[in-house]
């Protein structure tokens, strides 16, 4: 029996969330007294996955596996799960992970729980914690099915690293055109920018920034810190910023280590997407702004004056 972890990579680099997933898989495997197998499909990164806790690393390649396709990847992953008697499958909840996990669950007749934020409790049955009600609550979900597919929210679980090396077992899988009914026509990625969904530090702006002409203050601070940029819904609705930056209940949910909100009131729908960030800093002219109640640090002041001061100090520290 084994815990099987899918480790996603992009351009020859593992995502940080893949390491979190492997550490999660290792810790869970220890609880269940079974082994932890890391699986890469199509491409892989440079690091040795043994260092993060994988007992084995299987790398699957084959004709239809060069780029992500949900059906092809699900077939490849599910075959590994079957041949290695996998009982739990761990997938990081990235965009690709969200498409992959349900397909594997059906193939394996496994229970599926998404949105997991903590290690499973195996003392009495098998229970996991998942976010619900758009991060306004956490559900303790009991799973009463032997096989399980679990997706873990990025930045919810720590990583550990040592110097263990494991060999990579190369596996050639027969996925054919007949298994796949969709294909990628084109891909469009912003190069060189930190994707918001993976960012550990996020600087975000709201309507209080007055207009797109002031956004360089958010971007400059983000660049200096190596952070990603985000915005509130009205800001993307007015097209001050691209839709892909909109966070909240109807936008992206993020969980960075740092979320700096400038000129954002902190409406309940906004908090639904950012409220579980580890450290929240709020800059707002209105001392009564609801966001201060959800913040760790607050500054009552004009964001257009405060942001440059923050940038100045970051530059001083970085030099």
């Amino acid at each position: 029996m084994a815990v099987v972890v899918y480790a996603e990579s992009d351009n020859g680099q593992y995502k940080k969330s893949s390491f979190e997933a492997i550490t999660y898989g290792k810790d869970l495997a220890k609880l269940l007294n079974i082994s932890c197998i890391a699986v890469t499909i199509g491409s892989k990164g440079n690091e040795n996955l043994g260092a993060f806790g994988a007992d084995q690393h299987m790398h699957i390649t084959g004709k239809m596996l060069a780029t992500f396709n949900p059906q092809a990847y699900a077939k490849a992953l599910s075959e590994i799960v079957t041949t290695n008697n996998g009982t739990v499958v761990i997938v990081s909840q990235t965009y690709n992970g969200k498409s992959l996990a349900p397909l594997v669950a059906i193939k394996q007749d496994a229970a599926l729980v998404t949105g997991i934020v903590d290690m499973a409790n195996t003392t009495n049955g098998f229970t996991v914690k998942k976010t619900t009600f758009s991060s306004k609550a956490i559900a303790h979900v009991s799973i009463n099915q032997e096989k399980k597919v679990l997706t873990i929210i990025p930045n919810s679980y720590h990583t550990t690293k040592d110097s263990t090396d494991v060999e990579i077992l190369e596996i050639d899988t027969q996925v054919t055109e007949n298994d796949v009914n969709s294909l990628i026509v084109s891909t469009n990625k912003e190069i060189g920018k930190v994707p918001l969904t993976e960012a550990e530090l996020v600087i975000s702006g709201g309507r209080g920034l007055k207009g797109p002409e002031n956004w360089h203050m958010v971007e400059d601070l983000a660049d200096a810190l190596g952070a990603a940029t985000a915005c509130s819904k009205p800001v993307s609705d007015m097209e001050w910023r691209p839709h892909s930056e909109h966070v909240g209940q109807t936008g992206i949910t993020i969980k960075p280590n740092l979320y700096i909100a400038a000129g954002i009131s902190g409406a309940i729908q906004h908090l639904a997407g950012v409220g579980s960030s580890k450290v929240i800093c709020v800059i707002n002219t209105d001392p009564e702004a609801p966001f201060f109640k959800a913040a760790d640090y607050g500054i009552v002041g004009n964001a257009l004056e405060v942001l440059p001061k923050l940038l100045q100090r970051v530059k001083e520290l970085k030099n």
């Binding site: 949900p70 059906q71 965009y95 690709n96 969200k98 349900p102 397909l103 669950a105 059906i106 229970a111 998404t114 949105g115 229970t127 991060s135 306004k136 609550a137 956490i138 559900a139 303790h140 799973i143 009463n144 099915q145 796949v180 009914n181 969709s182 294909l183 990628i184 891909t187 469009n188 990625k189 912003e190 920018k193 969904t197 993976e198 550990e200 530090l201 810190l225 892909s244 209940q249 109807t250 280590n257 740092l258 729908q269 639904a272 409220g275 450290v279 800093c281 709020v282 201060f292 109640k293 959800a294 760790d296 640090y297 607050g298 500054i299 009552v300 002041g301 923050l310 100090r313 520290l317």
Partner: protein
């Protein structure tokens, strides 16, 4: 062309979430329910596609009788008819099994869902339905067009977007930006009253998970205020104390 749109009925986005029965049940008292915002987008785009391709749109929900008024709203937006699978939605797997059953029976070319429900936040029903049916899935899309029995859609990926084509029948899930949700007009509301809302029995499948209890997320211990004049101090705290960079 027949399109099946999956809609869930969820608490309004402003709802303060509380629980009853020793934190095992969501407390519905005083809560206003709405169509899941992403499902409104799925429905709107499905209606547009049906109009352009001489098709029809059926909405389906897995829910109890108290969801009927919200389903009528979907009919008022323009859906031809509705199916309600009469059961409490236990989890994503259970819901997907019910939907797949109806999709098989109804000869649909497209199943449209929302990206995720804002109450269960599974983001999983679409993938489960697709795989049960053996249809391709294009998840989290901001465009969706049909030409020659092929669906072309732009889906969100980490750090960008990707255009994907899939042969019909297939499953797609709606993301913000796909369209502006249609608002029912008076005529639609009148017509909705007499449109068919077929209540069907649930099949007994997939009872794999249950919620043991709920808890509210930990609250912040209180905000530390920093004077705007000394705003730079925030950076020192984040650097030295919080060690964030």
């Amino acid at each position: 062309m027949k399109i099946l749109v999956c809609v869930s009925v969820v608490p309004d986005t402003t709802t303060k979430i509380t629980f009853s029965d020793q934190d095992t049940q969501f407390n519905k008292a005083g809560v206003q329910f709405i169509l899941n915002p992403y499902d409104e987008l799925a429905l709107t785009r499905a209606l547009e596609l049906a109009e352009a391709n001489a098709g029809s749109v059926t909405v389906i929900t897995v829910g109890e009788a108290d969801t009927d008024p919200i389903i009528r709203k979907a009919l008022a937006m323009g859906a031809t008819d509705a199916i309600r699978v009469d059961a409490a939605p236990k989890d994503g797997m259970y819901v997907a099994a019910q939907i797949a059953e109806q999709a098989k029976a109804g000869d649909y070319s497209l199943v449209f869902t929302g990206r995720e429900s804002i109450d269960y936040n599974g983001g999983q029903v679409q993938g489960l339905v697709a795989e049960i049916l053996g249809w391709p899935l294009i998840n989290v899309v901001t465009t969706a067009d049909i030409t020659d029995k092929t669906l072309i859609a732009s889906r969100d990926i980490d750090g960008g977007r990707e255009t994907v084509s899939a042969v019909l029948p297939c499953v797609v899930s709606a993301q913000k930006d796909l369209c502006e949700p249609r608002i029912p007009n008076m005529r639609g509301i009148m017509q909705a009253r007499t449109k068919p809302l077929n209540v069907v029995q649930a099949t007994d499948k997939f009872d794999y998970t249950s919620v043991a209890r709920y808890e509210l997320p930990p609250t912040k211990s209180g905000v530390k205020m920093i004077d705007a004049e000394n705003a730079a101090e925030l950076i020192d705290i984040l650097h030295n104390k919080e060690k964030l960079f």
